[in-house]
Amino acid sequence: MTKNRNKKTTGVYVHIPFCVRKCNYCDFLSFAGDEAVKERYVDMVCSEIEAYCRDRSITADTVFIGGGTPSVLKPKLIERLMDAVRTGFSLTGDCEMTIEANPGTVDGEKAEVFKSSGINRISLGVQSMDDDLLRRLGRIHSRKDFLKTYELLRNKGFDNINTDLMFSLPGQNFEKWKNTLEETADLKPEHISFYSLIIEEGTPFYEEWKKGSLEEISDDDDRKMYHFASEMLNEKGYVHYEISNAALPGRESKHNLKYWSMEEYAGFGLGAHSFVEGVRYENTRDMEEYLKLYAKAPDLWKERYNVINRNTVKDNAEEFVFTGLRKLEGIYKDDFAKLVGNDIYDIYSKEINKMVNEGLLKDHGSRIALTKKGIDISNYVMREFIKDKWKL
């Protein structure tokens, strides 16, 4: 993990909030939208990028088009968007450029456009190989749709594909999860994410849960599914490198690793987050406001950003630990010292020792990482590092 503070390289995130329909578990900023809105929105994002980059030379080494479902955009809008990104930023030669796509929203033409506009990594929202479960989740695709899309992308030459999978789903049992995982791994995607379902407020699943009609998976079963996934993927040659992510060696998501390593990223579009020069920003979450501003004066991009926090040293230390521990190799003591200016034990000796004694953290010498048990209750570990006051 190296970071060169002199040379400015950033990650770029673009949020596309549109979906064909909203899934039953989803609380992300997303909704259906008509074509006219999509077009105005993409124009707005383009002008936002243009204004951000104007008179500056910013090098980007990752680009991530997320959502929502970015793949619902028409080919010409994807081209327009990627043009803006390539014009605005100077991209490194090995720049990782990801777009999230749903099986069923990608055809040959779109795949071509992905390719021609520089996208070299596709993140597919598969979630499950079980059609019953896919329906239960409110997904628009079937297992067959996914297999077709996957094959199509491979045929078009995409050699870096992620598949998102979910477990702990209502109605799912261990067998079904095992089948989904095995079938997916057998396709050998370069990257597999496996998320335990979170019941978020404001989702249909939450309403069901409140009524008590959601077939909840017990914590014990959830952990069984999780650890099975970790072991199985390991056997198949994947590296389980982050709580919910595994990749073939060298295929870890460079973009997502930035989030876990206190590196910079500039976000564009509705509700997008940025971390630039030690400040965390959030873009407006109000679509009307977002579009209105564009109509008025596209140069006002800065006004749309709310500063969430100007990170203090204490913020940096806390965030470094609780994001960094998501990586299974953990946090490097040197990196902490560089960022915070103190040895990690100067600040957190009590916390670290407590967690080590409870068997949740392990000190590996140059780095500190969660244990297997620590992963299961990582929130418990991480919140230990959020302190009211600092005594140095």
Partner: protein
């Protein structure tokens, strides 16, 4: 004619929710000194908590000017009274400052327990009671029923009682004239030695204690040396004035008038409600009758929670005491909770109000222990102890006799609930003393009950079983011998003294089981199993277990939204702060009060 002929001093008394505050608002609106723009929703209630609970806790007195039909201007001193059984003594002192009382009766409800209790208090003070039928605007209003009940049950003539709607402002002018014509003007001799009643006192940061007073005889002005007869302390008057309702300085107060006095008094406990003020140089021979020192009936421990500082809690308690003479506290130590305070209250409501104010006004994180009454324990060697903290109970073998405080509970309910209420009274070891049908469908039950059972959850149960129609009033009648035991709670095999309580032998098993079940729901999962046990002596009588938790992990990251994750962790951390650590077990603060709550079964 004397100036006194144009003064009317009165209180408004009513059962809770019969519209006392709304009526007070209307009276103020229709008279001078208060403009409509000044009107808040409930003008007399100036505390947040009161507004939420819809009851008046602290008195606030207001002087207004009314121009009557006879062409004269009359001064009305409206003295507000607290509306709950916990504050009976304060009510009686406020009434003692008046010549009359407006007895508000809801035209849809008729006479209720507190209507009766308050009417008795008022007639004990020889007040002229002016019945007022309120809420005549409601479709279900039956003013004749209310009038009949007042006449039958209270023996107060009510056939020409003003029938008003405080909400809609109907017939308020009729009422104002009735006040002038029916309520007597105050008597007294302004040339006699000073004799004045303290009926309330509040603390003000700039003026010190503001004494609310009714001058019975004599006069008082700035510079006078006054003596408070119960405490014997002497002060120099720094200001006198009227209440409008904020203090407005006057040159002098004289016999028959109501107003305030400040005299650099440091805390309200020094200006006790009911005490008599006299002139130190020319004192009156006899104090006013009726003074008594308020006696705490209910005690509980208050401890700093989590990282809260002992000193911060102490400061807050001191500040509250400055303004609340009925609230007492002293330091104590708990094995489980460390350093804290044993606090005494008039009743459970009073306790809840104080606890809420600590949270709301002082932003303190505290733990309260099970409330307890004062038990009288006679040891085998003849020594007598008053025990209000279960932890101080001597070993059972050293106890010859235990007695508990008893109350006479006056319960008024619609007749269809008689069975249900008799059941909950019996469950709480009540003995029926008297039962009377006061009207066709209303019943008064008189029970002799242990105070312990009343403070626990009786009022909640009564309200719940009668859909809110039941009302309760109680008074302390003395001590009675009883078979009591100490019930302990053990978490992870360790005794947590803060949960210990003294209960009747026949209740120990049920209470033990209930507490264990409650704690099982409230104590969060830990990384290990947490056994919860209830025991009497060394015998475990109930047991539950909190399972160990297996998972607390956030699977997803939200597109670089680190702040969301941070908020979650902070929220969890905040929750943890409200926890109290017992050995290795974390117990949320609400556990201490939750084990006391009434459970609808």
């Amino acid at each position: 004619m004397s100036y006194r002929d144009y003064i009317r001093n009165f209180s408004i008394i009513a059962h809770i929710d019969h519209g006392k505050s709304t009526l007070a608002d209307r009276l103020l609106e229709k008279t001078g000194l208060v403009s409509e723009r000044d009107m808040k929703e409930q003008f007399l209630d100036n505390m947040d908590i009161e507004r939420e609970r819809g009851i008046t806790i602290k008195l606030q007195t207001t002087r207004v000017v009314y121009k009557a039909n006879d062409g004269n201007e009359y001064i009305f001193n409206l003295i507000d009274t607290p509306g709950h059984v916990d504050f009976t003594y304060e009510v009686s002192r406020s009434l003692a400052a008046c010549e009359g009382a407006l007895l508000i009766v809801d035209a849809t409800q008729g006479v209720e327990a507190q209507t009766m209790a308050n009417a008795y208090l008022a007639s004990n003070e020889d007040l002229e009671i002016l019945p007022v039928i309120n809420k005549i605007d409601l479709p279900s209003a039956d003013p004749q029923m209310a009038i009949d009940e007042i006449e039958e049950m209270l023996a107060i003539e009510a056939h020409d009682a003003p029938q008003v709607s405080a909400k809609d402002g109907i017939n308020i002018d009729v009422l104002l004239e009735a006040i002038v014509n029916k309520i007597p003007a105050p008597e007294g001799d302004e040339n006699a030695p000073l004799k004045a009643l303290i009926f309330d006192s509040v603390y003000d940061n700039y003026k010190g204690v503001i004494i609310y007073t009714r001058i019975v005889d004599g006069r008082v002005k700035k510079g006078d040396m006054i003596r408070l007869m119960a405490t014997g302390k002497v002060y120099e008057v720094t200001e006198v004035g009227i209440l409008a309702p904020g203090p407005v300085p006057f040159k002098e107060l004289k016999a028959g008038e109501v107003g305030y006095i400040t005299a650099s008094i440091k805390q309200v406990a020094d200006a006790r409600v009911g005490d008599t003020i006299t002139n130190n140089d020319e004192p009156t021979s006899e104090p006013l009758p009726g003074y008594r020192q308020v006696q705490s009936m209910v005690y509980c421990g208050i401890y700093p929670a989590g990282t809260e500082k002992y000193e911060a809690v102490k400061d807050a308690l001191e500040k509250l005491q400055v303004n609340d003479a009925a609230f007492v506290f002293e330091p104590e130590t708990s094995q489980a909770l460390g350093f804290g305070f044993r606090c005494g209250f008039l009743g459970l409501l009073h306790m809840e109000i104080i606890v809420e104010r600590l949270d709301r006004e002082f932003n303190l994180s505290i733990v309260t222990t099970s409330p307890s009454v004062i038990y009288r324990v006679t040891k085998t060697d003849g020594e007598e102890l008053m025990i209000q903290n279960p932890s101080n109970l001597p070993n059972m073998v050293e106890i010859a006799k235990m007695e508990e405080p008893m109350v006479k509970a006056n319960i008024m309910i619609p007749n269809e609930y008689v069975g249900a209420i008799m059941e909950i009274c019996q469950e709480r070891r009540g003995r029926m003393d008297h039962m009377e049908y006061i009207s066709e469908n209303r019943v008064v039950l008189e029970y002799i009950m242990p105070l312990n059972e009343v403070i626990y959850d009786f009022f909640d149960a009564l309200k719940s079983k009668t859909r809110g129609y039941g009302s309760l009033d109680y008074e302390f009648i003395g001590y009675e011998q009883s078979k009591l035991v100490k019930l302990d709670v053990l978490l992870n095999k360790e005794l947590v003294d803060a949960f210990s309580m003294i209960v009747h032998e026949s209740k120990a098993y049920a209470r033990g089981r209930f507490v264990c079940e409650k704690l099982k729901d409230i104590i969060p999962m830990h990384q290990f199993e947490v056994p919860i046990q209830a025991s009497v002596g060394t015998k475990v009588i109930a047991r539950e277990t909190v399972r160990a938790y297996r998972k607390d992990v956030l699977a997803k990251c939200y597109g670089g939204d680190i702040s969301r994750k941070k908020k979650l962790l902070e929220k969890q951390k905040e929750g943890k702060k409200r926890m109290r650590q017992f050995g290795s077990v974390e117990v949320p603060q609400e556990a201490f009060t939750a084990v006391l709550k009434y459970d609808e079964k």
